[in-house]
Amino acid sequence: MTRVEEEAARIAAAGESAPRLARDPVNLPMVLNWVEAIGDANPVYTDPEAAEKAGHGGLVAPPAMIQVWTMGGLHGQRSSDDPLGAMMAVLDEAGYTSVVATNSDQTYHRYLRQGEHVAVTTRLDDVVGPKRTALGEGWFVTTRNTWYVGDEVVAEMRFRVLKFRPAEKPAAVAEAVPAAVIRPAVNHDTEYFWQGTALGELRIQRCGGCGLLRHPPGPMCPECGATKPTHLVSDGVGEVYSYVVHHHPRVPGRATPFVVALVELDEGVRMLGELTGIAPDDVRVGLPVEVVFTKVDDDLTMPTWRPRAGGGS
């Protein structure tokens, strides 16, 4: 038996903690706040007539509020005999320092009425582990709360948390992929392009004077000298004109190997972008591709390519 298991057995054997009385009796103002916040329009909680008609014999509280009544408040502290607090301390000490709630099941034995004063106890059901999880190695800790009015059990809850040791971040070794991407510099001449990608449009600069299509764009048309750039929205389809399979060195934001393709769009201009959705060995010059907009974050959407469906040649 590990130390964690020994401590778990000891805490579980201590059984229920002493009942902790709710701060206030069940009351209408708290119910009104709760049903408003939750959006529960059932009149039996707020309209005495409706409650009467429904056979409750007066206003009742929403059963799902059961935890609300015994919450500790903003500065609340666990009682010294709280088994969950004790178990958390044991696991903290063993290095399982992070916690995430996994699930809870509540059972309601009856409705509560205005003015009833509930108390709650906690006992430790079980501690299972160590388990390997996506978050890291940890223990599933299950506790059981019981709510009483006097000696009568009115509700119960089984509550489970995962208490885990955070998976170590990979050291700065060659295999780690840096999180940051290289962002484009954007200016007056190019912002239309990036505004377009954010909207799902692949925009090609078109001269407002002679209609020349041009990518990358610029402020003055090299054909006619006009400084009236407009744009059209590309159909986003074309062919791989050339491509690179990048292996070394690492590139921020990307796992290697990856493919960068120079695509000749049907409109006649060429454009670079990452090509995904195909094994690097299967890429070839002439491969039919289409644009995909890959959102990096709220400020940046990158145009990327994927093989065009039914585009075999």
């Binding site: 290289i182 690179v244 399979v245 990048h246 201009v269 670079l272 990158m302």
Partner: protein, 385 residues
Amino acid sequence: MSVSGAAAVVGIGATEFSKDSGRSELRLAAEAVRDALTDAGLEPSDVDGLVSFTMDSNTEIAVARELGIPELTFFSRIHYGGGAACATVQQAAMAVATGMAEVVVCYRAFNERSGHRFGQVQTAAAVGSVDNSWSYPMGLGTPAAMVAMFARRYMHAHGATSEDFGRIAVVDRKHAATNPKAWFHERPITLEEHQSSRWIAEPLRLLDCCQESDGAVAIVVTSAERARDLRRPPAVIRAAAQGSGTDQFTMTSYYRDDLTGLPEMGVVAKALWRQSGLGPSDVDVAVLYDHFTPFVLVQLEELGFCQRGEARHFIADGMLELDGGLPLNPHGGQLGEAYVHGMNGIAEAVRQVRGTAANQVRAVAHVLVTAGTGVPTSGLVLGVD
């Protein structure tokens, strides 16, 4: 007015080529310049002009302070990375020919391996550069990958293979193997070793890519007339040219009608042949910029040594060997000797003209030198007096 024949290289200097110089870039620059002046038999006080690359971290005034050069009447920097190499000498020749300066030293110094490595993703290059915003954010972030995009299209258009690229690496390393100053001295490679080297950016393998080096090179230029009074045989500047092509970008000129040539090198070639009155058949040694092997093939085509797409046939049968029809990079190039942004190639051209190279080609009258490829570039023809 022509620059051809007006000026000459009279001194060359360098530090050792290493992976970790252990000293500042300014110290490397100062050591190389002093070495070149000693070679020329000149004093720092003779120098009135300095030229370098915009990428060099050492300002002309910092170098002048270290050398004790009292006054400068000409100082200039050239842009576009390795494309600047031969243009520094062009600047010097123009300054000398027009009387702007009498003795000009061109220099390039960096800790490119132990300090800032060009082979890594140049995240900073993308920040604030609208031009680079069409490539870097899309994942195309290294010089090798940018050249690989071109190389793939060249292979598609002309049927060239990875082995064709590998033959350039093999000949460079063969020459480096017998050059004591080369990093890869006594370490030749076979084509099989090239073919089994790992992918960097397909279709480029590790052995298609030049080294990363620490080091410095300096070149002293003065008038051809004064050169004849100095201690070394002059390497006369027969032609010096810069070139930029249509729809030019830095490393990513992917939007031209054709993606199998280097039109900017074509611009340089035309000017070199026009200025010098020479042609490809007059070249005894070719020092071609070789940061990545595919562009050596394309240069042979742009410079007129062979037809477009024919370079892979041209280089067969030992053509590029020391005793071949067009000896290539007898010092081992940047794949074999060191990567000093093309400046070590100019120094090799001077040695070949003087007849003092480690791998000396016989009866050299004219040497062609080119600068960085894929970028706006430059070239030189140096000759015997």
